[in-house]
Subunit: 341 residues, 2 copies
């Protein structure tokens, strides 16, 4: 029999917990036979939700936790003090090897801090980036880094490029992924100090397919598969994607409701349009992994519904089966050896 | 009689020069009686274009220039060497007081360098930012800075906030404009080193309406009027706006063409939709001024058509009549005095 991939789900995390987190877990074990889910959270609440569904009982386990880390809590403090929270207990299960992965829709800050402090970095990884997939015209691209550790160094960005390439190739299935660095012009001499220093280092990397600078204008068109940037810029890109998309779609809707003629037209275009716009909706692509940790940690959107939780859980299987962390270890250590020459 | 506002237009700048630059100048003088345009460029080309139109001959003048700065040329070199280019000659007219403003759709780099080197900064202004208006849900906001001078200091951002507020209040007509700093979270303690240092300085400013951090997600919704950031981030925001907008609109169009039903619907919604989407198109808002110079320099999009050139010229009238530079001088010098206390 195939080995089960064990995924801890933070049942208490996110705006729709525990209803949607528990439903997402149930849907995941009902969809795939190779998954076991461990739900961390208040036992009576979680079991109350579970009792609504039919699912293979041996593939969902509940671990009772008494504390919850709130969205607004300072993350470092919360991780240190709330030892019996769904996040801390869940991450400790990954640390101890009792689970392969941890999925949370809770506080981004707490997940990032917990990932580093509890699960810990792979040896040689200087900084674990948060890496969501973002939609492009005909597919997706990996935005690396969108985390909380701003003011990165060139060596961090080089590791991001390597880890991002491994993820896109093995989890998303893009052969020889094109790596670009976010810049304010296409030429090598353009950019801020960080980009100018990083550019030649990326050019030297033999194990990535570096295509040079990428202007923000060309990201949605899909000019590259791995978009390297430091976290402040990555965060701006991720959130502006959401913001421009939401405003533009609301304007399209308002435009269609302007008069009788356009309202009739709207009824006719609606089904086709809905399908197209869905493909440009970031939330369907599962969560954002925190790469470079000793186990897998996945952060999903705070407003995640069951379907995003399910997608994030399934994503962990691919990650585990493709031995992503082994591959990261190989490539990061190769770099360390070159450095010592 | 009202005094004429004299605007130099770089007839050779941009993808559609000189046809659209000349047409834009003609349309401007035909629309408003208080404008005189001086066109810099190859005389025979410019006059050839002018001969196609009817306009008051005494309000368009041609100054012959023999050189053109190409888009790809290194800007510092180009400004230094091409003394008889349409950009250098045009900016010198502003410097000598023979014109009030300079408008170009040519090389952004050359316009930025020329603005600083030829026209020169207002005393006390540390760095002149490039400041386009970007569309929001129900209006526009000023994005300051999108220029080429990256790696800004906190004092630069404070000046941007002041100059941007003056511009929005007096040129765009927004009373007591809300100023926000681009950040990766709403809390004061979030951000990179630059934002953390700048935040308290902005809070102290008495002459601006500082509302705190603004996340990129909320920019398109119009949560603030003056969006303060350093140029690298500003450039990413400006270009991603364009990129996400273009990709999403092309997806909406493709979605509508999917089947017979949606095609019929598309015919019906098209007129209403076109009007709505036009309001989200950055190009209609004229050019981006380079604030804090001794004269006005406006950069318009390289792909500008006549209408954007005309809008940029008309924008200069408001700038001049509202004495923007006098107001900038007052507020920047106020700050210098406080500093000396």
């Amino acid at each position: 029999m195939q080995e089960l991939v064990k995924v801890v789900v933070d049942a208490m995390g996110g705006d729709n917990a525990p209803q949607e987190t528990v439903k997402g877990a149930v849907d995941a074990v009902n969809t795939r036979k190779d998954i076991k889910v461990i739900l961390t959270g208040r036992q009576e609440l979680v079991e109350g939700e579970l009792s609504k569904y039919t699912y293979p009982k041996d593939r969902i386990e509940v671990v009772n936790t008494t504390e919850v880390i709130e969205m607004a809590e300072p993350p470092v403090n919360a991780i240190r003090k709330k030892k019996d929270s769904s996040i801390v207990v869940g991450m400790n299960l990954v640390k101890k090897g009792e689970a392969d992965a941890f999925v949370s829709a809770g506080s981004t800050g707490a997940v990032l801090v917990g990932g580093q402090v509890i699960v810990g970095r792979i040896k040689g990884v200087e900084r674990p980036p948060l890496t969501p997939l973002i939609p492009t015209k005909d597919g997706v691209a990996l935005l690396i880094d969108c985390g909380a550790n701003v003011d990165a160094r060139p060596s961090h960005l080089v590791q991001f490029a390597k880890m991002g390439s491994i993820y896109m190739e093995n989890v998303v299935g893009v052969k020889n992924p094109r790596v670009g660095i976010v810049n304010i012009g296409a030429e090598e001499e353009k950019g801020n100090a960080l980009v100018k220093e990083t550019f030649p280092l990326l050019k030297e990397c033999k194990d990535i397919n570096f295509i040079g600078s990428v202007e923000a204008r060309d990201i949605p068109a899909g000019v590259c598969d791995v978009i390297v940037c430091e976290a402040f810029v990555g965060n701006v890109i991720l959130k502006l994607y959401e913001g421009v998309g939401a405003t533009l779609i609301s304007k399209v809707k308002a435009g269609m409701m302007q008069n009788l003629r356009s309202k009739i037209g709207a009824l006719l275009v609606k089904p086709a349009l809905k399908a197209t716009l869905k493909s440009f909706d970031a939330s369907q692509y599962g969560g954002a992994p925190l790469l470079g940790l000793k186990g897998l940690v996945v952060k999903t959107h705070g407003s995640s519904k069951a379907v995003e939780i399910t997608n994030s859980i399934i994503q962990c299987v691919q990650f585990k089966q493709q031995n992503i962390n082994e591959k990261i270890k190989e490539h990061i250590s190769v770099k360390e050896e070159i450095r010592e020459d």
